[in-house]
């Protein structure tokens, strides 16, 4: 007997037994189960005193109110950014000082040992200093931002964000839970892409997947913060500077959200046509996060995560940069040749060849983009040693001619360019279709290039730079 068919036959038999009652029976089954749980619950649950204050409802009255809902959302975002920017400053300075002190000692050691120059260059100026930059510039903002975000997540704020924003997503033909997947994207876009599984409809899941990269992940966020702070710092007092930098970062993030909505809208009217599918969202009760534990754990988690990625990716990249900067083709270094080759196109976008190259070399992990840029500037230019973060401003603006346009274009391209290797790999694994993976890379890169070129052309036409 063919047992596969037999199972199928059973279904047919069951159908004949039920006959035309089918519809009612389905409902009846679910109802019986719910009735049973209702009865059991009535039996076993009692309240010792009624009329408890419903705090959840009171909090939600404010957090999702038509008047306060959006200002509070923006406010919370801004406060988190501000704490990150203001808080990262000190540890960054401190770490940089420590790391470069150690670098000097390492150099002395190599000299004392009479080690060949290339070995010292590759290991200390390349590998070690890439690590030093990643840890001192990138780690502090990540280690502050991520734990704060985790606190919000633990308290139960994220579903409220989705509740508040859903109307926009619906208008864009997307799913309301995309707000949740975007929130996960702040931590890591690959995690955001995996989180897209909570979206049932394949069409809307794909939209969420393809647009997740417009949320700056933890690896790109510090670049945006660093540039925002660099361009504003120095001109005004520290407090005002971090306030303005915060505003700048918040504007960039909101811009990313706007691009997400626009691209989602575009996709659901072209490639991924369709109606928004059903949407249900549970708003869980607020829960008091275990502040101490969450903070300690996520700081440690982030640190380990960043350090291990730095070792695996930043260190080799640093070595590569050094090799490129110290070997020549014709009469220029490979590094300069590559940058020169990219320069005409990069220039159209308001960038320079080194910046674009840093983005390209940063493909394995976004957190190495800015460190790579610094290193290529340092190794190609006159300044050999960087002693503090204040030198960064000098390096970019005075030595490499950055204007506000360079800064803005770099920030925009950091927000809108191809996803990192890990994210693309994850998209491929989730969607199992290389065309979508390719689109996930081309879409943000294309949009970033177009925006940068437009802004640059405008700024130049209006003589703003």
């Amino acid at each position: 007997m063919n047992s596969e068919a037999a199972v199928g036959n059973l279904l047919e038999e069951a159908k004949t037994i039920i006959g035309d009652q089918q519809a009612g029976i389905r409902d009846g089954i679910v109802k019986s189960i719910y009735d049973t749980s209702e009865n059991i619950t009535k039996d076993v649950v009692s309240y010792t005193s009624a009329n408890r204050v419903d705090w959840d409802r009171k909090i939600d009255n404010i957090i999702t109110s038509p008047v306060w809902g959006f200002p509070i959302m923006f406010g919370i975002l801004a406060v988190i950014f501000w704490v990150t920017i203001a808080g990262a400053n000190y540890p960054s300075e401190f770490l940089a000082a420590q790391f470069f002190w150690v670098q000097d000692r390492l150099t002395e050691l190599f000299w004392a040992l009479n080690a060949p120059d290339w070995l010292h260059g590759f290991l200390v100026l390349g590998v070690y200093s890439a690590l030093a930059w990643v840890v001192s510039v990138m780690l502090p903002p990540m280690a502050i931002f991520f734990p704060l975000f985790t606190l919000l997540e633990d308290a139960g704020y994220l579903p409220r964000v989705a509740f508040n924003l859903d109307r926009f997503f619906k208008k864009a033909g997307a799913h309301g839970k995309q707000a949740l997947t975007m929130s996960m994207g702040f931590g890591c876009n690959a995690a955001g892409v995996i989180a897209c599984r909570i979206i049932e409809s394949p069409r809307e899941r794909l939209i969420a997947t393809l647009t997740n990269n417009f949320v700056p992940c933890n690896g790109r966020f510090p670049t945006i913060i660093a540039l925002a702070s660099l361009f504003i710092a120095g001109s005004v007092s520290v407090t005002i500077a971090s306030a303005i930098a915060t505003l700048g970062v918040a504007v960039i993030v909101v811009f990313g959200i706007a691009v997400t909505l626009f691209v989602s809208w575009l996709l659901s009217r072209t490639l991924l046509k369709g109606e928004p599918s059903s949407f249900t969202l549970e708003l869980p009760p607020y829960r008091k996060p275990q502040v101490g534990q969450v903070l300690v754990r996520s700081v440690i988690d982030r640190t380990i995560f960043v350090l291990s990625r730095a070792l695996v990716i930043a260190a080799p990249a640093g070595g590569l940069i050094w090799i490129m900067a110290n070997n020549t083709v014709g009469d220029t270094t490979i590094l300069a040749a590559a940058a020169n080759w990219l320069h005409p196109f990069a220039g159209l976008m308001g960038l320079d060849g080194y910046i674009l190259m840093a983005f390209i070399l940063g493909f394995p992990a976004n957190e190495i983009v800015f460190p790579i840029l610094i290193m290529s500037y340092v190794s190609g230019g006159t300044m050999v040693q960087m002693e503090s973060l204040a030198d960064l401003r000098h390096l970019l603006i005075d030595q490499h001619g950055w204007t506000w346009l360079t800064g803005l274009s770099t920030v925009i391209f950091a927000l809108c360019h191809w996803p990192c290797g890990t994210t693309l790999f994850t998209i491929q694994r989730e969607q199992k279709n290389w065309r979508w993976t390719l689109l996930a890379a081309i879409l943000p890169a294309g949009i970033g290039i177009i925006i940068c070129i437009t802004i640059t052309a405008l700024a130049r036409a209006l003589n703003l730079v």
């Binding site: 719910y34 009735d35 809902g69 509740f163």
Partner: protein, 79 residues
């Protein structure tokens, strides 16, 4: 039932009993599994700042629906 209304028409704070689901297939199953079987009491909790979606208390959990789903749930208002 003649005096039943779609769930999305009720104002905040209203309570109602489910009479019928105006949906078929998967949507119907999902609504049922969320506990919206006929006779279930539902309370309208709040609307999103932009009016849609709407959050309801269904069997002890706060669950939000978009207008399109909410209007598939027919209810009679109770006090």
């Amino acid at each position: 039932m003649n005096n039943s209304t779609p769930l999305n028409r009720l104002g905040n704070g209203c309570c109602a009993l489910v009479t019928e689901l105006n949906a078929e297939g998967l949507t119907r199953r999902r609504l049922l599994d969320l506990g919206l079987v006929p006779g279930t009491k539902v309370e309208v909790i709040r609307r999103s700042p932009l009016g849609d979606p709407i959050a309801f208390n269904i069997r002890g959990a706060i669950i939000a629906f978009r207008k399109e789903e909410a209007e598939k749930v027919l209810v009679v208002q109770v006090s």
